[in-house]
């Protein structure tokens, strides 16, 4: 057979053909020297014959696979047992890449944008060190996520300066020479004690009722909290912009890939993916991008703003994420299925909870603690109808659009529901909220009633009509 040397697999069974306007066909796919043939091999045989020269373009649609390489948490202690990686990269390569990435956090899939097939990947920093180490498998893995001829963006959540300094400690960033198809963008999102201090300052400012206006404004400014919010949101918008506007895939990492990285990947999904704005979708997002992704809740949320002993690993990373979600919720009040209370509730449980969900620092620890057997899941409680009704946004109307928040300082606000919660009465605001809910409920009631009456009237009319016509 001609070209036989090019045909590695001449026949595949159980292949499904999807066609527009017709039902899918299952059959056997055969590859010959000239044709690609699919036969349903049924009585009323359906066959598709495609001449190779007729083929314009081929796209692999499933480029991803589940990998169990981390089954025993041996490759990466902060990853879950199952991760999604490019199909063309085998587990052996993943092990090698893990050696090249901080904390063993090799690049994994975080989000797949259905609209155009672009993806968000996340990882730890590459361990290039001062002598510019490289890892062929790492380069191969990252490139495997790109479509032919496409370029991608690497978003480093550190400033170039910080990233350069990281090399001295064995860390580093992707050299453009070794990753020619990728463009690197540095953004600066703060971490650790800087965030913790910001929170302490903000709470202190909010608690002082006697401040005059100048002092309040300067304290609010000095806390830098809203600056952090703006930085995080801006980076998330940038990531979303790359995916949706530029049609480019992205890889996101900072140093360890467990703080600012997760803020950005999860917020980008809020912006891009309507499902993550639903209650179940948001719970899944928290589960995926924070719990499974290995955000060390135990370390970060052990103490809050009133703590005296400042541990260096404490940081309100998750609270900042929730605050950012709240900012977007304020700007798109009808696009979220949940309300502010849902976010407040998550904040509380992240810091102290009767449920096991936020315990431990990663999946490996949670397994060792046997939390599934010994504690209750927060979600099982939250998802009870009686609880859900309190957390549901009455204004929600599913919105399938990408939502672009404004990150201008004038558009960002102090999250009063968290920071001023105990400092002033919210009686009038709560009453107004109740009234709003009443109006919406009343509207639904009236609509239902009108529909019933319309039907009733129509039935009467037809009855009359039938009685009169014969």
């Amino acid at each position: 057979m001609e070209f036989a040397e090019l045909i590695k697999t001449p026949r595949v069974d159980n292949v499904v053909l999807h066609r527009p306007f017709y039902p899918a066909v299952e059959g056997t796919l055969c590859l010959t020297g000239h044709h690609l043939i699919l036969s349903s091999r049924q009585d009323n045989t359906e066959e598709l014959w495609l001449l190779h020269s007729n083929i314009d373009a081929i796209d692999k649609t499933s480029e991803w696979r589940l990998s169990y390489v981390n089954k025993e948490f041996a490759v990466c202690p902060s990853y879950p047992p199952i991760v999604i990686v490019p199909k063309s990269i085998d587990d052996e390569a993943l092990r090698k890449v893990a050696m090249f990435r901080h904390g063993g956090r090799f690049p994994v899939l975080s989000y797949y944008h259905k609209k155009n097939g672009m993806v968000i990947m996340r990882s730890g920093q590459p361990l290039t060190g001062t002598n510019g180490r490289r890892c062929k498998e790492d380069e191969k893995l990252i490139n495997a996520t790109l479509r032919a001829g496409k370029r991608g963006y690497i978003i480093d959540t550190r400033s170039l300066n910080v990233a350069q300094q990281a090399r001295a400690k064995g860390g580093g960033f992707e050299q453009e020479a070794h990753y020619p198809q990728w463009r690197r963008i540095h953004k600066s999102i703060e971490r650790y004690h800087i965030l913790q201090e910001s929170l302490i300052k903000l709470v202190e400012a909010c608690n002082e009722q006697a401040h005059n206006m100048d002092r309040w404004l300067s304290k609010l400014e000095a806390s830098n909290w809203l600056t952090h919010i703006k930085e995080i949101l801006t980076t998330a918008c940038l990531a979303a912009q790359c995916i949706d506007r530029e049609g480019a895939s992205i890889l996101i990492h900072g140093t360890e890939g467990i703080d600012s990285t997760l803020q950005v990947t999860s917020l980008a999904q809020i912006i891009l993916e309507p499902r993550s704005r639903t209650i179940r979708g948001f719970e899944a997002l928290i589960e995926r991008e924070w719990l499974q992704a290995g955000h060390p809740f135990q370390q970060r949320c052990a103490q809050s703003a009133y703590c005296n002993s400042k541990q260096k690993w404490e940081a309100p990373v998750f609270l900042l994420f929730l605050d950012c979600v709240w900012q977007i919720l304020r700007q798109f009040p009808c696009s979220f299925e949940f309300n502010e209370r849902f976010l407040t509730m998550l904040f509380e449980h992240a810091y102290a909870s009767q449920f096991g969900t936020f315990l431990g620092n990663n999946e490996s620890e949670r397994c060792k603690l046997k939390l599934q057997q010994k504690t209750m899941s927060l979600w099982s409680w939250v998802n009870r109808p009686s609880e859900l009704s309190k957390l549901t946004n009455p204004l929600f109307e599913a919105n399938n659009l990408v939502i672009w928040p404004s990150v201008a300082p004038q558009s960002l606000q102090l999250w009063e529901g968290i920071f001023l919660r105990w400092n002033r009465t919210s009686k009038y605001l709560d009453e107004a909220y109740e009234e709003m809910v009443n109006i919406i409920e009343y509207n639904k009631e009236l609509q239902a009633k009108v529909n019933i009456l319309r039907r009733q009237l129509a039935e009467l009319e037809t009855e009359d009509g039938m009685q009169e016509s014969p």
């Binding site: 600056t227 801006t234 940038l238 404004s406 109006i439 009456l453 319309r454 039938m466």
Partner: protein
Amino acid sequence: MEHIRTTKVEQVKLLDRFSTSNKSLTGTLYLTATHLLFIDSHQKETWILHHHIASVEKLALTTSGCPLVIQCKNFRIVHFIVPRERDCHDIYNSLLQLSKQAKYEDLYAFSYNPKQNDSERLQGWQVIDLAEEYKRMGVPNSHWQLSDANREYKICETYPRELYVPQIASKPIIVGSSKFRSKGRFPVLSYYHQDKEAAICRCSQPLSGFSARCLEDEHLLQAISKANPVNRYMYVMDTRPKLNAMANRAAGKGYENEDNYSNIRFQFVGIENIHVMRSSLQKLLEVSGTKGLSVNDFYSGLESSGWLRHIKAVMDAAIFLAKAIMVENASVLVHCSDGWDRTSQVCSLGSLLLDSYYRTIKGFMVRIYSLVLSGGVRCGHLDGDPKEVSPVFTQFLECVWHLTEQFPQAFEFNEEFLLQIHEHIHSCQFGNFLGNCQKEREELKLKEKTYSLWPFLLEDQKKYINPLYSFKSQRFTVLEPNTVSFNFKFWRNMYHQFDRTLHPRQSVFNIIMNMNEQNKQLQKDIQDLESKIKQRKNKQTDGVLTKELLHSVCPESPTLKTSLRFKEQTLLPVNDALRTIEGSSPADNRYSEYAEEFSKPEPAVVSLEYGVARMTC
């Protein structure tokens, strides 16, 4: 029209105010006798009333043309690039002339014609009636009387004709007092609290210098305190900072000496003067207009502008006033220097806290009318001394907005109403805000020559109703706002009302407003349907007697059933979720355009540019 040399310029660019990459729209610029109009390539219209223009600036020529920056009193800022310098120069000169009128008669209000006849126009002016308002307050009564002392504006030119003074204050006392008060503005009633029998009075500073006294003035103050049967002590509130008041003494003015007046408690409340306020607002606008503004620059700018500090000071003064009446049952006399800016502001805001009537649409109009008559709105409609222009009225509206934020159910009107009123203070389209006092307004024959804004707002009332307003509040339910600093926020919807990208893309308020409207319609529908069903049923029971025997069972046809479904109409869409921004021209209704934009499958790239989220490495 003699000022207009070029009426139309093509290929003009309108720059995005906050874009750091000079994003722009191209279109045609038109100059009419009243408006500047820009129509971009998407047929979107931007109308700018000449009277709204605060400043026009021609910047240095660039390669793409000649930049023209126009700043408006309603906080709109537009940046055009005109291809030819000649055209730019013509427009610039025309706008300079058109935006600053030397005579009242040249203002838009005197040519504006909404196609109403004379009686309609007059009716419009009668919507607000101050005589009614005094009756509502409960004056005249045994303690307060209408004085005819100023009927011919002989005692005080800037006061209205009708003034209420204590029953026991005789004309010589009034005349004597007026001679001891700056610009003759002697103490008169501003608000009477029927329940407490306490009064808010207003005046200007006394001409006390370092030691001067005036017995008549002392008598008049005593008369005010005596008019309050419950508490003989009265407060005298000087709304100025103490230092300013003391400095005034050197000029033969000053403040009351407690020793010379019996039963008064004197109090400074420290609101800055209009010059400080004007530059404060200027700073605020500079900060908020900065391209690529950082959070820290925004807050430090907000702080150094002092704007929110001033707002808080006004609010605190109003609270002091309301408390004096509610808690101590005391009457209060308020003044500043001339007794128009700060005094009007504080009296108006104080009465808004005390009396829920002023929180209704109609009541608020009444309050604003008396504010105008007392000279509280001096916005510089004519080309004159820019030093006399003040943002006092804007501040008043902002204080009210802060109250609506703290008490979302206490006001019948919404934010849009405040913005609309603000729009028309400067538009000079209606006669309401023209002239600085009643005398001047009468001389201008405003009621014959111009229209009143209020009937137009009332006609559109639906747009201005607060859907959450609770009717429960009794007339004397007092608002006690909390003035902890963190309760004061930058009023984005005012100062950025034309910068759409900075606002939420969906407005809860509009949705609830529409839903409320829809609910009313639904209630009507239900009544309608119920009566129709009743009719049918009656008809049927009549018919059944005769026909039942013939058609014992009438099987329902499945096709009919399904066809019924179609009758379940989808109701009015309620997700017209976007904030509308009103221009001064009716053509400036952009509802449709917004809705269309939002319904596109992808929203335009929005504010990323402004937010520095740019693809730079």
